[in-house]
């Protein structure tokens, strides 16, 4: 078995769930990791502080794609407060395998982008 590329990662990379643009959506979170050219855009449908549905479009490596897919799976149906509590460590554990330090940014940048946008949404709604 490959340490970095578990079967899970490779499967998610080849067949990522929730890939695409959610139509209609009422929240959009977008950003990238410019040092490597990776980019992601999440489209969400939110109601009463709960992520009813979510999809992602991306340009990136296996690690980042797999993580983004997992992330959409994890947050679907969850309240924002719970999503904000997800740590980078949690996310890395979902992936199984051992993500070497230089690849951790690939794995975690999308989480930060999503959390940041959800914070901004909350601010606007206050």
């Amino acid at each position: 078995m490959n340490e970095l590329y578990s079967e899970l990662v490779l499967d998610l990379y080849r067949n990522p769930p929730n890939r695409g643009k959610l139509q209609p959506h009422n929240v959009r979170a977008s950003g990238g990791n410019p040092s490597c050219g990776d980019a992601v855009t999440f489209t969400l449908w939110m109601e009463n502080g709960i992520v009813k549905d979510i999809k992602f479009e991306n340009e990136g490596c296996a690690i980042s794609t797999a993580m983004q897919a997992l992330l959409t799976e994890h947050v679907k149906g969850k309240p924002v407060a719970e999503i904000q509590r997800i740590t980078e460590q949690n996310a890395l554990e979902w992936l199984g395998g051992s993500i070497t330090p230089t690849r951790q940014k690939c794995a975690t940048f999308a989480l930060k982008i999503l959390q940041k946008e959800l914070r901004a949404v909350e601010q606007r709604n206050k």
């Binding site: 490959n2 970095l4 590329y5 490779l10 490597c36 990136g60 490596c61 296996a62 690939c106």
Partner: protein
């Protein structure tokens, strides 16, 4: 297949003028294993490994001669100063400069280029043009972008679809009469060589000050600044077997003399009163504060090592490896290569594997001991223009050999297997 390999193995050895096996023994790091495999270091564009003689020169300096330079009249300071000054002379001889007065030690090529952007930039006026190319490393682009604040126009000569300089576009942009023309001798992202001599002549004829980013040329081929005729050239010690923290700015003596100083403070001054200061002689006028003495001495040791091998031989060796690697890669299906054909390039191969992101290729190669770069190679505008977000880059130096290329090829194949993208 086996027969074939043996044949090319023989002809390779016969043709090669360099003893790579002996050279490899002189680089301590090459004895290291990575993930249980032979270390195959193929990120020489980014930085290079150090021979024992360079490491020893640094150790010897600290164990026997370490002192501040220029200022003390005691024995240690005298020894340190002589060695540090001799390092300037050695560097001058290596690139065919007149003498050490024309050699300023900086931290790296980036600082050398910034020094020019700050000092030459001072003399520019609103509306003046500066011309670079799309093949630049960020370090020869971003410093010039900063001059836009002052109302300077930055023109960027385009590239052809294969990644060569668009020479017609360069000439057209020269007709805007730029005050400064700054370009790289070779692209670190694609390996493309630029027609240096022709470009310098054209730029000088149009009245521009000429700057060459030699960071990828000086380590890999014979360079003679007097023959090429540029006003300034920047390069980095760490990319040519030397230590980190030492770079070079070459400048024609009269040009360096007329330039104002950049950083100010100790060592670069002549007299200081409370009101004002006057400057020291060349090159010290541009070396403010205690310099990287050990770095300069280490660079001189690196140059001695390169001279021992011979820069012609280095260039030839890399060109042969490049040819070999290009052929080997052609045999793998599903590979897209970027940049022109080998004869227009340094020993750099930039590519992607269909269906696998560059980072993943690099990670699988790393699992196989093969160290390559993936990403935008500090050349985002160039990659954008070529429509690529990232690529894998393998780059060669004098200690690389055919087994290194074979390991690269094997690594790519195992990445394809892992990702199930073998056609």
């Amino acid at each position: 297949m086996l027969r074939n390999k043996t044949k090319s193995e023989i002809s390779w050895k016969e043709k090669s003028s360099m003893n790579t096996e002996k050279i490899r023994k002189e680089f301590p790091i090459l004895r290291r294993k990575i993930n249980g495999r032979r270390l195959v270091y193929l990120d020489n564009t980014a930085t290079t490994q150090k021979p024992a003689s360079v490491i020893e020169a640094i150790t010897e300096y600290y164990e026997h001669h370490n002192a501040n330079v220029h200022r003390g009249i005691y024995t240690l300071s005298q020894e340190a100063s002589e060695k540090y000054e001799e390092a300037h002379e050695e560097t001058a001889r290596f690139i065919g400069a007149q003498n050490g007065e024309e050699i300023v030690f900086t931290r790296n090529a980036t600082e050398s280029l910034n020094l020019l952007a700050f000092t030459l930039g001072k003399e520019l006026k609103k509306g003046d043009h500066v011309l670079v190319t799309l093949l630049e490393h960020h370090s020869n682009l971003v410093p010039w972008q900063q001059l836009k604040e002052k109302g300077i126009h930055l023109d960027i000569a385009r590239v052809t679809p294969e990644g060569l300089l668009n020479e017609r576009d360069f000439e057209e942009k020269l007709s805007l009469k730029p005050k400064l023309v700054s370009f790289t001798a070779a692209s670190n992202a694609l390996g493309t060589r630029l027609p240096q001599k022709k470009m310098i002549k054209a730029a000088r004829d149009s009245g521009a000050t000429t700057i060459v980013d030699g960071a990828q040329a000086v380590p890999h081929e014979p360079v003679n600044v007097q023959k090429l005729g540029m006003d300034f050239m920047a390069f980095s010690g760490h990319k040519m077997l030397g230590p980190t923290g030492i770079g070079v700015l070459y400048g024609k003596k009269e040009r360096l003399e007329s330039l104002p100083p950049f950083l100010t403070g100790g060592d670069m001054i002549d007299t200081v009163t409370e009101e004002k200061s006057t400057w020291n002689a060349l090159p010290w006028k541009f070396e403010a504060g205690t310099p990287n003495v050990a770095g300069g001495i280490g660079l001189a040791a690196a140059i001695k090592y390169l001279n021992g091998v011979g820069m012609e031989a280095v260039a030839e060796h890399e060109q042969k490896l490049l040819q070999y690697a290009t052929n080997q890669l052609q045999e793998i299906p599903g590979i897209r290569r970027y940049g022109p054909s080998p004869e227009h390039k340094l020993g750099i191969i930039s590519f992607n594997v269909n269906g696998i992101h560059a980072h993943d290729v690099a990670s699988v190669l790393d699992q196989n001991g093969v160290q390559v770069r993936s990403g935008n190679h500090c050349a985002q505008p160039l990659l954008n223009a070529l429509g690529i977000k990232a690529s894998v880059r393998a780059s060669f130096y004098l200690y690389n050999d055919r087994p290194d290329v074979d390991a690269l090829v094997d690594g790519i194949r195992s990445a394809q297997k892992l990702f199930k993208v073998t056609p």
